[in-house]
């Protein structure tokens, strides 16, 4: 009878390399590389997603995106999410720092601050629809605090809507940054704090000269990822507003163009631009980090 273990190790090795890499490689090619190649191909065509023929139109789709304000204006929306990331990381850093020292109910606070980042995106979208709706949580709270005159149409006013949505995004992702920072800070040896205590350093000194330098790398990484994060914002605005009132992000626009208006060619060109931005940003980050290590 055939038994795998009876084969010589060199034959086993060949068999196992082939067998173990087949499925992962097939998946990788089909769902990571093939889509990219096709996307580039579609982006130079006027394909609608279902017709048999596709006509190549050169750079027409790209010219359209960069000249038609309807497509270009969505990048402005990204700026709100980009700015929000800084607020989010500032808060995360602050909470991570104070919770890395002795604190009452440390684990309770840790859990409460982190939990939102584990929650279902659709649930969060609904929770904040309720939060921002007229006479919703926020309005009632402002009313109770005597700040009723500040009440606005949080999701109806194009001037404010992106601030409301970016705020929701801070609420959702702050805990994730927080836990990553907390992990990084907790790997700092406690000797350093003790030594600095002896030298009379206060908490600010410890933050500035011990914590900040130790987590600089992870901080940089997150800052740079913020750019691609801001451009690929999708869940929160799509679930809450569907992109209405000027809250359309680049990804919502792409999905609409592709699946609502059946302009797969144009949508692919948009996706290619998005991909290029993300790749440039990620490469930049890798280079920076590598430069750091040398």
């Amino acid at each position: 009878m055939f038994k795998f273990s009876n084969l010589s190790y060199s034959k086993q090795r060949m068999a196992i390399i082939a067998a173990f890499s087949f499925i992962p490689l097939a998946l990788l090619v089909t769902f990571a590389y093939l889509p990219v190649i096709n996307m580039f191909k579609y982006s130079f065509s006027d394909w609608n997603g279902y017709s048999k023929r596709l006509e190549y139109v050169g750079f027409e789709n790209y010219t359209k995106i960069f000249t038609d304000p309807e497509y270009f204006s969505v990048f402005k929306v990204s700026l709100y999410y980009f700015v929000a990331t800084f607020v989010q990381m500032g808060l995360a850093l602050y909470f991570a720092t104070i919770l890395s020292f002795q604190t009452w109910f440390k684990n309770v606070f840790k859990g409460i601050l982190f939990f939102p980042s584990l929650m279902n995106g659709v649930a969060i979208g609904f929770i904040f629809l309720f939060f921002f709706k007229p006479d919703g949580t926020l309005d009632t709270l402002l009313q109770a605090l005597g700040l009723g005159s500040y009440i606005k149409l949080w999701l109806g006013n194009p001037e404010i809507i992106n601030i409301s949505l970016a705020g929701t995004s801070i609420w959702r992702y702050m805990g994730f940054n927080f836990i990553v920072f907390l992990g990084a800070i907790s790997s700092i040896s406690s000797d350093l704090y003790e030594a600095s205590d002896m030298d009379g350093a206060n908490r600010w000194h410890q933050f500035r000269y011990i914590i900040l330098p130790s987590i600089k790398r992870i901080l940089q990484l997150n800052l740079i990822l913020a750019i691609s994060g801001a451009i690929s914002a999708f869940d929160i605005p799509y679930i809450m507003t569907g992109g209405s009132n000027g809250s359309k992000t680049f990804v919502i626009q792409t999905i609409d163009v592709a699946f609502k208006y059946s302009k797969v060619g144009l949508a692919s060109a948009m996706a290619v631009i998005l991909l290029l931005i993300v790749i440039v940003v990620t490469l930049l980050q890798r280079l920076l980090i590598r430069g750091e290590e040398d």
Binding site: Q12, M39, T103, N120, V122, L182, A271, V278
Partner: protein, 277 residues
Amino acid sequence: MYMLKRTLANSIKYAALLLGAFVALLPIVVILFASLKTKAEYSATSPLTPPVNWLNWANYAKAFVNGNMLTGFVNTAFILIISIIGATLTGSMIAYILNRFKFKGKSLMLGAFLLATLIPGVTTQVSTFQIINKLELFNTPWAAILLYLGTDIIAVYIFLQFLDSIAVALDESAMLDGASYLTIYWRIILPLLKPAIVTVIIIKGVNIYNDFYTPFLYMPKTSLQVISTALFKFKGPYGSQWEVISAGIIIAIIPTLIAFLSLQKYIYNGFAQGSVK
């Protein structure tokens, strides 16, 4: 003076923590309140008012039954279990050969996995959709499962990193006992990878349970809805019935809360590990 300064700093610290906890909890707590109110009570009271009867489950029953949330849970569980087992097996298999063997094309393979991390899934959806369509997987659970497996490069990374810390001497001594490579993978490597597997399960589990995009785009059929898409459907028919929507929201969050409370320690570690790519 020093004492005073310390006390002041401490007060600011706790004030900030309490405010942070308040902001994190308030939006959820008001939803819990609303979910326990009757229709009349909901329209007569402010969102900040607690419900009269804390045991009014009527909205939950309505949300669960009319919202087809059971279907959602069953589909989510099916996709989750198959994807996680698949990701663990395929991820650890490829990581095992990439970490333990030298062979032609190895660096090319490693590079291919590395390069793929640069491609965010969200950008390629438009053409991924065509592939799923051509494979005739549109509107089947296999669309989601294959996508979760195929784009899961993070799992490969976590396994690769972890394999570095497992001594090769273990493999060698097993080989002296005549164990085949298959036995080594199955009996030695896989059990030792347990902490990494837990990390993968947590990160993947959270991502799949919360993913809205993939099921929404690839499985619009009602009988295939997952928790995310089932909840999203509340937007139409229950648009104004916030007490029912609220119950649906809480139902969707409860499994996450239970998992979080029982796996806290691993979840914290998992997220910290998974983020360092």
